[in-house]
């Protein structure tokens, strides 16, 4: 199959996925597209929103339309790491000997729904660190690879909710995107009511196989990026580093730490997915700009002053987008 055909197929598959998800999820277009984008880029997603906005439903729907193994972990304060990763249990063998046998946890699946992840203690939250980054689990001194593709789609309630624990910075940084799920509009809410309070039940089909998804992920990585687009992404990330000369004023004033290199990776990969979904063969500056908020917002660590003044991550990212020029001044007429 030629590259052009692969691109065409990518777009068709994406459109099918979008359509299937759309059967269940009403509105939340940006959230859905970004979630799909992260999946196609091979990244994990953190969905944040108050209870009842369809975060879990979205992930469950994805689990249904993707022909992948799916696990749901409900994070609670008493959840332990072993409950996620698995544990060695003493088992009786056929010959009557008792041996330790590793009992795989729910993390051993392609698609993990980490529901209300911030309701577990940081210790338990951190159990996912290795799995998310290395796609492997170390237990009992043995490293066990997770089968590709591997995604964690986590949901969390806002930090100010009762019974929540903030995710550690290292954990947050491992999420490709952090998406904020907002309230639906009146039309969307009406449609939600129509779909959920009547007898009709949406039937979802599996649109993408595991192999097809991995091929799509490969295709995404082949999309070319012009040097100045990469440069723009780099400048955006550098502008969030408060201790450097490239930092924008708000970053200098309100940030303790800026984005890690993973932020730049997320910008470029997210841009590539968006370019393909838009029918382009190259990443544009607009792609970078569009994915900047979900890719960077959770990677910025605010200082006390920002918290005191109620400055949000999104305000800072928007400020960065305003301050950093797309084209260096020398190029403009």
């Amino acid at each position: 199959m030629s590259t052009e055909q692969e691109i065409t197929r990518f777009r068709e598959t994406y459109a099918a996925l979008r359509a299937e998800v759309g059967k269940v999820i009403v509105g939340l277009d940006a959230v859905v597209e970004s979630t799909l984008g992260a999946v196609l880029a091979g990244g994990h997603v953190l969905l944040e929103g108050v209870p009842g906005l369809g975060k879990t439903l979205l992930v469950r729907t994805l689990g249904e339309v993707l022909d992948l193994s799916f696990s749901r972990i409900q994070f609670t304060p008493d959840l332990m790491p072993a409950d996620i990763l698995g544990t060695n249990l003493v088992m009786e063998a056929a010959d009557g000997r008792r041996v330790f046998e590793f009992q795989k946890g729910p993390v051993f699946a392609h698609l993990i729904l980490a529901d209300e992840i911030n309701r577990a203690t940081p210790k338990t939250q951190s159990a996912l660190l290795e799995a998310m980054q290395e796609h492997s689990v170390t237990a009992g001194g043995e490293i066990r690879r997770l089968e590709e593709p591997f995604f964690v789609l986590a949901t969390q309630n806002p930090i100010d909710q009762e019974g929540t624990y903030p995710l550690p910075e290292a954990q947050l940084d491992r999420f490709f995107f952090k998406l904020l799920v907002g309230y639906p509009s009146a039309e969307e809410l009406t449609e939600v009511l129509n779909r959920t309070t009547e007898t009709a039940v949406a039937r979802l089909g599996r649109v993408v196989t595991r192999e097809a998804l991995m091929a799509m992920q490969q295709l995404v990585r082949q999309v070319p990026v012009a040097s100045h687009v990469k440069d723009y992404a780099v400048r955006l990330v550098l502008a969030t580093h408060p201790g450097t000369g490239a930092a924008v004023p708000m970053a200098r004033q309100f940030l303790r730490y800026g984005s890690s290199p993973r932020g730049a990776q997320a910008l470029i990969l997210g841009g590539k997915v968006r370019a393909l979904t838009q029918g382009r063969m190259n990443v544009s500056l607009e792609d970078i700009r569009t994915v900047a908020l979900p890719a960077l917002r959770h990677r910025l660590i605010l200082n006390v002053e920002a918290e005191a003044e109620g400055i949000t991550h999104d305000q800072i990212v928007e400020h960065v987008l305003r301050e950093v020029p797309e084209v260096p001044a020398a190029v403009a007429v």
Partner: protein
Amino acid sequence: MSEWEQIQRAVAGVGRRRRWQRAWGGMWKGLWVGVCLWVGLVAVYKVYPVSIQVLPLGGLLVVLGALAGGVLGGWRGTPPIETARWLDQERRLQERVSTALELGGQAPGEWSALVVADAARHMGRLDFRRMLPLRVPVLSRWVLLALVLGVGLGFVPEYRTRDWVQRQRDQESVQEAGKNLADVSRRLLEKRAPALEPTRQAVRAVGQLGEELTRNPLSRSEALREVARLTEKVQAQNREMARNPALRSMDRAARSADGNRSGTAEALQRQIESLQKSLGRADVPPDALEKLRRELEQARQMASNLSNPDSRAAEAARDNLAKALSSLARESQDLGAALSGLEEAIAALEAGQIQQVLQDLEAAAKDLDKLRDMAQALQQLQQEAARMGKDLGEQLQNGQAEAAIATLQKMVNQLKAGAMSEEALRAMREEVSKAIRPAGPYGKVPEHLKDAVSRMQDGQTAEAAQALADAAKELEDLLQQLADAESLQGALGALKRAQACIGNGKAWSLCQGTGFKPGGKPGRGVGTWAEEEGWIETPPQTGLWDNSGVERPDMDPRGVTDRGEGEVPEGMSPSSVKGQFQPGSQMPSITLRGVSLKGQSTVSVREAVQAAQSQAESALSQDQVPRAYQNSVKGYFDDLERDP
């Protein structure tokens, strides 16, 4: 053309067009800056006394600003990749062109082909001129406004302080005086380089001072000091030369010449003889010829009145005319003037042909006019010959150095020829010995002449010739000195004129001279009839200068001119305060308009007082002082005479 080449060409075209556009925009920006600077300079010029050169400089800045802006704007070309990025942004191509350009330059691949094709498809056909038009920018309105403002400022009068204006005028007059001094010096040197080194240096110093004043105009007082210093120097040199009595007599002779000298003594004699031959007599007084002319005119009048020959009165008139004509014929014969027309007129009168008489008298009058002119010319030549002197002694006596040189040269030639008779040699010796006394003031000339006389007495003609040649050489040297003195005088005149110009702050042309006015000397008018002043001595006042007998009815006083004794108006009675010079007390002073020359005075108080008294007397005698104050002024200056 491949899609890749198509993109490259489009990007290059856009790059060129953007460069032009930048140059165009830069030109307008430069023009704006230049115009602003120009307006600023005009404003500065209107307020501060800066040189007027700032205005053309400002104009130049406008042009240079536009040029520099254009050059700077279009100087730097844009790399294709930057142009591609700009194109992406301008045409909303989502970085297609820049990515394609970047990938196209790398190794060919499926993705790069796809990207290039995608970019080419989306770029389409670009119309550079429409996309990047060279429009007149909004800035042009501001440029126009600033230009109008600048032109408007041009009509605003400049603000200058009175002191500055005065300084400027002084500077201009100093500069002009300097330029003219340099010109005079150059002309003097071009006309004739002075033979004496000090004179040459003095003339050159005048030129150098002129150039210095032109290049670096000093303040009025400084310039006057410089000019005065040089004038002193040149004057001292001039006085030094004036001590030579030979030069004085030579100068006097040169001044008495009318400028139409008829050449050497020999040429003069030849002309005199030729005229005498034409006239038939050695001397015909022009006055007698003039009288004859008047009588002839009367006779002609009488002849013209003989219109009616039949009347008895006409008969008597004819007789009178016949007598008059006979008398005229006799007088003309006495004067040696043969007037054939007169004889013919007498014959025609006898024949009763009045018209013929008139014609003959006309012809006779013309002949008489010619004779009169010739007689006048002869008289002038004779006067000139008399001034020049008929022999060596007279020539030296009259200061005719050139004539004397010619005479000496003639003698030398005769002596060298060696064919002189004893009598001729004696005559020459006598002439030379007679010239020894008049040659006294001429340096070594009398010694040479004495030597020549003694040699001639001894019959040593060759040595005598050499002595005479030496005398001629000495005279030539003196002539050179005279010419040098004239150059020096020219330089001195220029310096004095420069002093007057700078001192009065006037233009060079307005410092000509004092003109002919009461108490003044004859100056320059239409036609120079005298030098302003002699270089060696003041020309002697002769009767020719006395114009007291000239009647000028148009200048006669009208009405009652005698107003009696002057009366002082009420409240303005003059009071004379006697000056008192006491040690330690304040010295009464008056402020005079003039130039302040600092330094040690070289004039004694007595001389200064005498000069002031002389000027006061002159002013009083010329009625320059109001009558009411004349007595007071006279009293004041008389007191001064007694005070020292």
